[in-house]
Subunit: 349 residues, 2 copies
Amino acid sequence: MLQDKNTSKTDLSQLGEFGLIETLTKDIQIKNPSTLKGVGDDAAVLNFKSKNTLVSTDLLVEGIHFDLAYFPLKHLGYKSAIVNFSDIYAMNGTASQLLVGLAVSNRFPLEAIAEIYEGIKLACRLYDVDLVGGDTTSSRSGLILNPTVLGHVAQGKEVYRNGAQPNDLIVVTGDLGAAYMGLLVLQRENEVFKVNPQHQPDLSPYSYVVERQLKPEARKDVPVILEELKVQPTAMIDISDGLSSEVLHITKQSGVGAHIYAEKIPIDPQTVLTAEEFNISELTAALNGGEDYELLFTISQKDYEKIRYRKEFAVIGHITEEPGAYLITQDNQKVALKAQGWNALKNKS
Amino acid sequence: MLQDKNTSKTDLSQLGEFGLIETLTKDIQIKNPSTLKGVGDDAAVLNFKSKNTLVSTDLLVEGIHFDLAYFPLKHLGYKSAIVNFSDIYAMNGTASQLLVGLAVSNRFPLEAIAEIYEGIKLACRLYDVDLVGGDTTSSRSGLILNPTVLGHVAQGKEVYRNGAQPNDLIVVTGDLGAAYMGLLVLQRENEVFKVNPQHQPDLSPYSYVVERQLKPEARKDVPVILEELKVQPTAMIDISDGLSSEVLHITKQSGVGAHIYAEKIPIDPQTVLTAEEFNISELTAALNGGEDYELLFTISQKDYEKIRYRKEFAVIGHITEEPGAYLITQDNQKVALKAQGWNALKNKS
């Protein structure tokens, strides 16, 4: 994974706002032809020609979405970009520009902010996104990251949440529940560390689930594959709050129902083992854990042959005409899905 | 000014994230043809046709940019939108879409968040901007608002900070320094209130300066007037950190210098009176106070006749070939401008 190497400390108040911006943005290179002007003016200037513009924003708040006790700053920057890119892929689009709103305690030295930015810039490089603007300011207490992502999609190729039709197949990418198990592992190690700071955790049995939590990736490949396969999904959403919550968004907005088959939900063996260790069901992790940043989409049955042999995709159920979203268990019980997904508004403080 | 009327209290944790979004966004109406899809999916979908897209983001952080002791929530929402719109007008563009990142303490009831949104929605209505997305989450402590604005400008009509040429005239809109004096008045009344909560402040002698602080407006009219007058500025910036800071941005980025004449700087009589009362120079307020959200631009001398009788504009100086930005005082002293503008990274907590 990524490493935080820097140990020197430069006081932000010495540097000033403009000095900080210059330090953080001086090595930015613009790669996308749609970016006409990046950082350095009142606004960035872009041109998407005839394509549709996509724009989305997602907040990450210290103490709510992450804990700096176990979340390295560079990873945090990386993840804040990834979760935003994911929203563009969920529209079947290409992410191309990022702006970053960043509020930090003035107890943070320059080097800490630079680490966050290193993570953001790494994500931008790997996903071909231009960092074109933002705003950095101090905050009275916690760290808040609020990136905004822009992207584009050919007109008519955008995929909304509301287009699912009865008998459509429900497809997910990758595997689910790992990021949540990674979170539980990190929280447990952090509790042990508090009691015994000499403790050296061995995270190697949990490498996959921990990486899914600390360094998630977004499915940039999926819109490209769908284009190659000539598959236009009828509805799509990214899995940020857990499978249950996302299936309910699609069924509610499309005015349909869904059956999901428990045995079809893709779950990594390490997620299963870790869930056993924590004495929870791996299905709970997949349905309600969230932060997978995989994509959930629906396709017409006629497209089944096009996708069935693609390892990226798993068909997990189908859309029904009658409303209501249900999990069909292995012993054929029908359980209503609930949006128990992670709710950032609940009283956690 | 705006009024906060609501006194009932609904707990956010009862409502949940999706309930909150529904409550806040149900009455939103889309007005701009460039908005194809607003709130309710993974991303908003826009189309600016052949025009250039403009995008900018500005953070407002409690305890740094505002104090809720004297800043009503509805005004705060309004201002958070206005300061973002201002960045689009500073590019000579039209603001058309807004997304809002909002982190609030979960001690805030729904009604408090609804007040903030009322202010945002009012600003959107008055400025013909569509509210198309955002993210709302709880925060461990303070209130943070991070709107992102999008807009558009005909290709080639955008105005950067770096185009000022020697002998160009330097022009400002409106008047300067009032918002800063309004801030000082509000801070003083707040100190009095802390000592004596029965004290009923009479703000009527300060109505203009207080309104400039609590309910600033952005110069939506200026790009329209410039178009009518067939004036294409050579450089433009909005005045958020004070005149000095903005003149220095333009001269630095354009590789030129500037002379500003103290007697030409437009300052409202109430700003002058209030500054006298606080025993500071009104010039200091205009040069370093900030938050005016007026526009500063440079034009070729040949365009002088086109603008000279427009009451919206004041010519305050000219661009020089030799570097260095100077204030020329009434007794003909030459004083170097410094960016003493308001610095959100200084140690204020």
